[in-house]
Structure formats: C-alpha cells, structure tokens
C-alpha cells in the first residue's frame, strides 16, 4: 500500500525552496513475473517486486530528476534537494516553461477478470506447453521454440505542486515467441509478440494454439513454394502488421514533438517533420493515422499520462495531412499548445518523455477481398521480418515474412522476401484504398537514454498502395 503522506511531505519540501515552475513526485510499487520455455522445457523463472520514487523539479533554469528504489519521507526530501540542485545548475539559455493544465484528483485502474497474481507458474507452464505441442503437431522442423510469458502489475501515486493527485493500477500480460523454421536446408524466422492490459483472461484471447501452428506452416510454405519478386513497379496490398509498423515508424515517431524540437537528436534522432508543416500533405486523403492510449484492453493503454494529463486519441496524420504532434507539457508549451497526454516512462527510475501508445491507421470502407480482387498484377505483403528506418524517419525498409503474388485479383502463390524500400511520403501517398477491419499487434517501443522499453500497439486495416517499387 503506497503511503501518500510521503508525496505530500516531498511536495512541501519542494515548495519550501521557492522559484518552482513545478514539482512532481511519483511513488510506485510493482510485481513482475516471467516464465521462459525453450523447446518445451523451462528455461527461466523469475518473480520480483519493486518499490521506489522519483522527484522532478522544474525551474526556469532547467529540469532536475532524481529517483531511487526506496519510498520514505526522508529519502524523498533528499531527492528534492538533489533534483533542485541539478535543475538550478543546468543554466539554460532559454527558460523552461510548461503548458498550463488543470489539476486533477482522481483514480483509475484496469480491472482483471482473472487476477494475474492468482495464476500459478504450473498453470502458465501448461499454457506455453500446450502452444508448443500444437506447434510440434504440425511436424514442421522448428528450432528454438523459445516462448516467454510475463506479467507486470504497477500501482502508482502521482502528485504535483499544482494540486494534481492521481492513483492508478495497471496490470499487463505479454507473450513473445521465437520460431526458426527449417525446410529444404533453408531457414525462415518468426519473432512475434502479444500483449494486453488486463488479467490472465487476455492471454486466452490470443488463440496461440491456432496462431503459432499456422505461422510455422506458413513459413515452411514460404521456403518450399516461395518465389522471388522480380524488381519492378507493382500494386501492393499491405496487411495490418505492415500497416501497423509503418504507422509506428513513419508516422508516430516523426510526429513526436520532443524529436521535432531536437531533444532526441543524439539518440533516436530528429524528424523530417518541422512545426510549420502542420497542415501539409504527407499522404493520400485515405490516410488517417491515430495514436490512442484509451483503446480498452490494449497493451499501450493508460487513462492519464505521467504528468497527470488525461489521455485522448491524437490524430497524427488526418486525411493525408500532418495534423497533430505527440506532446508533453514542455514540448506543448514551446508551441503554445496544451499537452495531449503523451508523457510516459518505463518505471519510476527513469524520466518521463514523449511516447506513443497504440498507433494505427483508421479504417476505410473496403472489404479485404475487394482490395486483392481489384489488382491485376501485384503483391500482398501480410507481415514483415527485417525492418528499419533512418533517424529522420524518412527512408524505411520492410522485408516480407509472409507475402503472396496477386494475379487477376487472386492470390497466386507465396512471394518470398519481398522488399519495400521507400520514403515516408512515397508510402503514404500511394495509398488509394483502406479496408474496414483494424487489427492490433503488441510491441515494445525503445526510446530515451537510457533506453526505455514502453508497451505499445501497432495496427491498422489492410491498405492498397498503387505503383510502388518492390525488390
């Protein structure tokens, strides 16, 4: 049980020092359990609890942040002194300012139908072994079969010197799977992830005893029947996994305001987007990309961000135009805006920074088979393996994990290792149709220094791109 008196004492100590733009304190307790299984055998089992706190002091001269894995009034006061000194000595040329936000006093939680803490390690092992057996039953040769299941419950109390007091409880469950499929002396890989906020009931919804056998059978077929795509210009249908990664990499990241303003310049990089590009065309009118932390049960869910700002959907690209950046209070203030609740951190030990949540393309009005049926000669890229993008988020590459040729509106056999290497506007401007059904994939997004892994979803419907070069 978090002692909220500690937060009050910390804020009083901070306010006693004067000249504050803002003081914040976060107290956090968490439980994390993890089970890894390799080829049906237990590989590692861990269980850990954690508790700690941070203090962030914002002065006009700078921002100071101090954290430790102890919660107490005495330690909190020491963190105040430390963070205050760090903020004071930063000696910024331009004063720090924050967007004005209304204080809130509330609590939020994600409820569990089957509490994660009630599930035994044996039960989790059975869950994984049943999946492993279903993969083995396919008779496909799969090396590795490394499956890792983890759950994480985080309780926190956040307060600031403006009067905000927030309590939260967020349980999450996650599964990752590495499958290396061999056939005819060749190998294909599948590295996938599932995640949700909620209880153990979420793991059952993934239907992995069906999904993973299908995945390894598909890879075997890619090896045995797949043919290389001849380099040329094609119509391309991207499945939701490809649409999702493109939404994340070439819309979500370049629309992070801290990156646009240069704060990540020496790590994750800057952005091809600049503040004056709001309203500029970046894609076709069929492209709307949303980042929405409020998707119920999603892996990237939260109700309030880590500065106490209420979460809401952000329309990043809207009908093909650059529309809204992801902001925290500092970046919003620089553009004379309000924060849109994008401040997140991996845990109390790290500073909160601008992050995505669940980033996806909004649905259109096509059926999936209409998209495929409309193409005379093209390719369906359902999922990807290798991918990367430059640090200004302009040049990206996706290599297919699952792809098929399309001939006269019908799927015509597997296309192997199809490569799309394209610019950001080149990708989004080629879209001329979007399907109705949105699907999500869970992922860990890396950003910050030290690297902070943050739970997110990527997703979207199917999209049709006209006349793109495939290699």
């Amino acid at each position: 049980m978090i002692d909220q008196d500690v937060a009050d004492a910390v804020l009083r100590a901070a306010e006693g020092r004067g000249s504050l733009v803002l003081a914040e304190v976060r107290l956090e307790e968490s439980n994390k359990r993890q089970l890894s299984v390799k080829a049906g055998e237990v590989s590692s089992v861990t269980s850990a609890t954690d508790a700690g706190m941070n203090v962030r002091i914002v002065l006009s001269t700078g921002i100071g942040f101090a954290s430790t894995n102890i919660i107490s009034k005495e330690v909190g006061k020491r963190l105040v002194a430390q963070a205050y000194g760090l903020a004071k000595n930063a000696k910024r040329k331009t004063p720090v300012s924050l967007s004005s936000e209304s204080p809130v006093r509330t609590s939020w939680e994600v409820r569990q139908r089957q509490p994660l803490a009630s599930v035994s390690t044996d039960e989790k092992l059975k869950f994984i072994r049943d999946i492993d057996k279903s993969v083995m039953r396919t008779k496909v040769k799969v090396q590795g079969r490394f499956y890792s299941l983890s759950d994480h419950e985080v309780s926190s109390h956040f307060a600031n010197s403006e009067g905000t007091h927030l309590n939260s409880y967020l349980p999450r469950v996650r599964m990752s799977a590495v499958n290396m499929v061999t056939a005819k002396g060749e190998t294909e890989q599948s590295i996938r992830e599932w995640g949700a906020s909620g209880g153990w009931e979420k793991a059952g919804e993934w239907d992995l005893e069906s999904v993973l056998p299908s995945e390894v059978l598909m890879l075997k077929k890619q090896i045995e029947k797949g043919k290389k795509v001849a380099t040329g210009t094609y119509d391309l249908v991207c499945g939701s996994k490809v649409v999702g990664i493109a939404s994340h990499e070439s819309c979500g990241h370049p629309m992070e305001a801290d990156r646009i303003q240069g704060r990540e310049m020496s790590q994750a990089g800057r952005s091809f987007v600049s503040p004056e590009m709001i309203g500029q065309e970046i894609g076709s009118k069929y492209v709307t990309v949303i980042d929405d932390p409020t998707v119920p049960g999603s892996y990237g869910y939260y109700a309030y961000d880590q500065e106490g700002v209420k979460a809401r959907p952000r329309y990043l690209y809207k009908e093909g135009r650059i529309n809204e950046f992801l902001h925290n209070r500092e970046t919003a203030s620089k553009m004379e805006l309000k924060s849109n609740g994008s401040s997140r951190s991996e845990s109390y030990i790290r500073e909160p920074i601008v992050r995505m949540a669940n980033t996806f393309v909004a649905p259109g009005d096509y059926q999936e088979d209409e998209l495929i049926g409309s193409i005379k000669s093209g390719v369906l890229m359902n999922s990807f393996t290798e991918w990367n993008i430059d640090d200004k988020r302009f040049n990206q590459k996706y290599v297919s994990r699952e792809a098929y040729f399309i001939k006269d509106g019908e799927l015509a056999g597997p296309a192997r290792k199809c490569v799309l290497e394209i610019t950001t506007p080149g990708f989004w401007k080629a879209v001329d149709a979007v399907s109705k059904k949105v699907e999500f994939e869970a992922a860990e997004c890396g950003k910050g220094d030290p690297m902070q892994g943050i739970p997110v979803c990527t997703g979207g419907p199917m999209m049709r791109l006209r006349g793109v070069v495939l290699k």
């Binding site: 850990a48 890989q189 704060r263 040049n395 890396g446 220094d449």
Partner: protein
C-alpha cells in the same frame, strides 16, 4: 564495500537455510548522473540511485530468480523465493552454478569520478568544441557512473568489485542534414577530453555538408569504430551459446570454421581497463580474456555453466544478468567487452588505398531478415563521405547497407592500428574496443 558483501552473504545464508541446494546472490549499488543536452543547451539533469540484490536459488532442478529491491526486507524475500522455487516446475537443463576456489582481480577505481560535482561542464565543453569547428546545433549526453557489487554463492563465489566511468556522446549539425557523431568513454577522468570529442563531431559535420543522395550498388566501406560498434551488439549476441541453441545465430554449427577474414581476431576481454571491466561474471566466475574468433576462425561460443554443460565444455565466464533485461533473452551468456585486434594501417592509408567507396562515421537500426544466415541491413547516419581514387570528394545521404553480416566480416581486408573504446546509447553496445576497418564490395541500397 563490506556492506554489500555482508548483504550478499546474509541473503545467501538465509536462502540455503531455507532449503536451497544452490544459491547465488549479487548485491549491486549503482549511482548514475546524466546530463542531456540538445540544441546546444542542457535539457535535463538526471540522477538515479539503485541498491538491490539479484538472487538465484535452486532446489534440485527447481530454480527461481528474483531482483530483491527492498533491501530492508531482503532476507524475508529470500525465504519467500525459496518457497516459490519449491513449488515451481523443474528446469531439466539446469546444470548447477559455477563452483570453485575463485580469486578475483581488484579493479582500479578513479575516485575523482565519484567526486564530480558539476557534470554539466562537460556538456558545455563538448558544445563549445563542436561549435569551434563550425557546428551550429549540438546535442548529446554525458554520464558519470559508479557501480559497486558483491557476489556470494554456494559454489564458492565470494567477491566484490567497484568501478566508475564517464561517457560522452556528441552529435553536431552544421546543416539540418549534415551531422557528425563522436563519443568518448573512459574509466579515467583525465582521459575525458570533452572539447576534443565535440570538435571531432563538429569537424565531421562540416565534412558532411551538402550531401547528395547516394548510389545503389557495390561499394568498399571504411567503417569508423563507432560504426562497427553499431553492428557489434548483434554480432556478439549471436556468439552466445544460448542464442546459438535457439537457432537465431549465424554461428550455428560454425565452430572451427571460417566466419570472418584472416584479419579478424575477436576477443571478449573484460579484464582490460575499460568502462565494462569487471572482476566476475553474474555467476561469480572470475572474468577472463576469451579469444572467440582467431584469424577468422570461430573458436568458441560464449558460455555460462548451464550452456557449457550442454556443449560439453567449460564456462567462459560470460554468465549474463540473472534478471531479464529489456530486449535480451533472460539468462543468456553475454559478451562484456568485445575487442577487435587492430591491424597496421593508418586511417589515412585506408582512405588513400580505396578507389571507390564510402567512409562511414556511424550507423543505427541494424536488423536481420534471417539471423541464421546473417542477411541484414543497417542505416549509416551522420557523416557518409564519398571516396574516389583515395580521396574524400563529398558527402552522400539516404543510403542503407543491405548485405550479409557473415559476408561483411569475411570482406574486411584492412584494419587500422589505432583503436578506440566505443559505447553509444544501447545501439553501439556492449562497450567495445575497435579499430577502423575496411570491408570490400558491400551492397548499398536506397529508397526507390
């Protein structure tokens, strides 16, 4: 240091008394000060302190690990962990923890790093250095880190270690798309020359001005140590016996075989003075110099006790953290400090000897379409300089190296005699000591 040794010993004794057959406790205290700067001014100054105990217990083959972060109640948590382990399913491949009469080397500690009272000055010096060479926008980080650890195990481990180091990363822009990147990391404060590091980044940013889109095709590439650091994370990770075991490595079934050119000798050496020097691995085995590739031939994988038993060999003292870390497999053996043995070329000679190629400052986002075969791509960033007839003739941008990692290492035909210690963010990791290298005829691609 005695406080941490006491904590590790107490937790070990409690877990053994509670019924553990094997137990391993590593008490760690770390303090980190970080200065983040961009747009040539400081954004935030962060400080974090953590004290915790990583504990592993085994009852027969029933194993369990935990990170005990509430030190005041660590003994109770240790007892609870043993109880949890008793009811956990067995790990059939568990082969015990390392045992022996271990002797540890004492690390050298530069106590001046512990007394740093104004880390921001290094950021200001780096910015000034870059600006002196013509940069107009500078960003980066400065870290001062102090780490103490003590380990105790039922296998006989009983040691302590203390290290401190500083790291500086400087990215300088002379134009919106012309940048240079330089890093400096050292366990000796007197070796940290922030102004010079900044100047190096600034100089590269000037050389990268007015870049034109690069051409697809085969190019010789001259890779700075920072670039090689960017591909070292995946290369060294694939040497882990665990990663080999799950088939996600280009080194599967390659022991004793050619995996690089004759020029490449790769050593994991946490015993030399570096920011990742350490006295023992996470099983308490004294660290050692492991020659992994000699003259291009793969000599060993990296092992902990369990993987070594599986491969009928001995641990190489590369046991990784007991507790899962983000973006890594839990419990996998890990490289601590990769070293590529230098050659006898000067960097100037490497450029002069290259007829048609690219000089690459830095890279990021290295991803594999097939770990088993090594097909990958990586995105050069910062200064990408065009070499024609032995001279740098301009800068290019928007390219990607799309090739095969095994082929890259097999194509290295020249190494510089100078090396540099490299560590940047989590991309050029783990910390490594590397020369400049030339690889012949690498495939360059770009957006259509």
């Amino acid at each position: 240091m005695n406080d941490l040794k006491e904590i590790a010993k107490d937790v070990l004794e409690v877990s053994l008394a509670a019924g553990a057959d094997d137990s391993l406790a590593e008490a760690i205290e770390s303090t980190v000060h970080q200065v983040r700067y961009s747009n040539s001014q400081i954004d935030a100054v962060n400080s974090w302190t953590e004290k915790h105990v990583a504990l592993f217990v085994a009852i027969g083959k029933h194993t369990m690990a935990s990170d005990l972060r509430d030190i005041a109640n660590a003994k109770e948590s240790a007892r609870n962990l043993v109880a949890l382990a008793k009811s956990s399913p067995p790990k059939e491949t568990y082969a015990g923890i390392a045992s022996g009469r271990f002797k540890y080397k004492k690390s050298k500690l530069d106590s001046r790093i512990l007394k740093l009272d104004e880390p921001s000055k290094f950021a200001h010096e780096a910015i000034a250095g870059a600006e002196s060479e013509g940069a107009v926008n500078v960003g980066g980080t400065f870290f001062a880190r102090h780490r103490r650890s003590a380990i105790a195990s039922s296998g006989g481990a009983n040691g302590a270690d203390e290290t401190a180091w500083v790291e500086l990363s400087v990215r300088a822009f002379s134009q919106p798309e012309a940048s240079g990147h330089a890093v400096s990391c050292t366990p000796k404060l007197s070796d940290m020359d922030a102004r010079r590091t900044g100047a190096r980044a600034g100089e590269l940013s000037k050389m990268a001005m007015n870049a034109v889109t690069g051409e697809e095709g085969k190019h010789d590439i001259v890779m700075q140590p920072l670039f090689i650091g960017g591909i070292m994370e995946s290369t060294s990770s694939m040497m882990s016996a665990f990663v080999v075991d799950i088939g996600a490595s280009m080194y599967v079934k390659k022991l004793g075989k050619k995996v690089a050119s004759n020029e490449i000798t790769f050593i994991d050496d946490p015993t030399i003075s570096s920011i990742s020097a350490r006295a023992f691995d996470h099983e308490g085995v004294p660290t050692r110099r492991n020659v992994v590739i000699k003259g291009g031939v793969l000599k060993t994988y990296l092992h902990n006790t369990s993987t070594a038993a599986r491969y009928k060999t001995k641990t190489t003292a590369n046991a990784g953290p007991l507790i899962p870390t983000p973006f890594a497999f839990p419990g996998e053996p890990t490289a601590f400090h990769p070293v590529v043995v230098p050659g006898d070329w000067s960097e100037r000679e490497l450029i002069e000897d290259t007829k048609h190629g690219l000089y690459l400052n830095h890279t990021w986002y290295t991803r594999f379409q097939n770990y088993r075969t090594g097909e990958f791509s990586t995105i050069p960033r910062d200064a990408i300089l065009k070499i024609e007839d032995g001279e740098i003739v301009g800068a290019v941008k928007n390219i990607r190296v799309s090739d095969n990692m095994m082929n890259l290492w097999k194509s290295v035909d020249a190494l510089s005699k100078n090396t540099q210690e490299i560590f940047w963010w989590d991309e050029a990791a783990p910390p490594s000591t590397l020369p400049t290298a030339r690889a012949r005829s690498m495939r360059i691609t770009r957006s259509a």
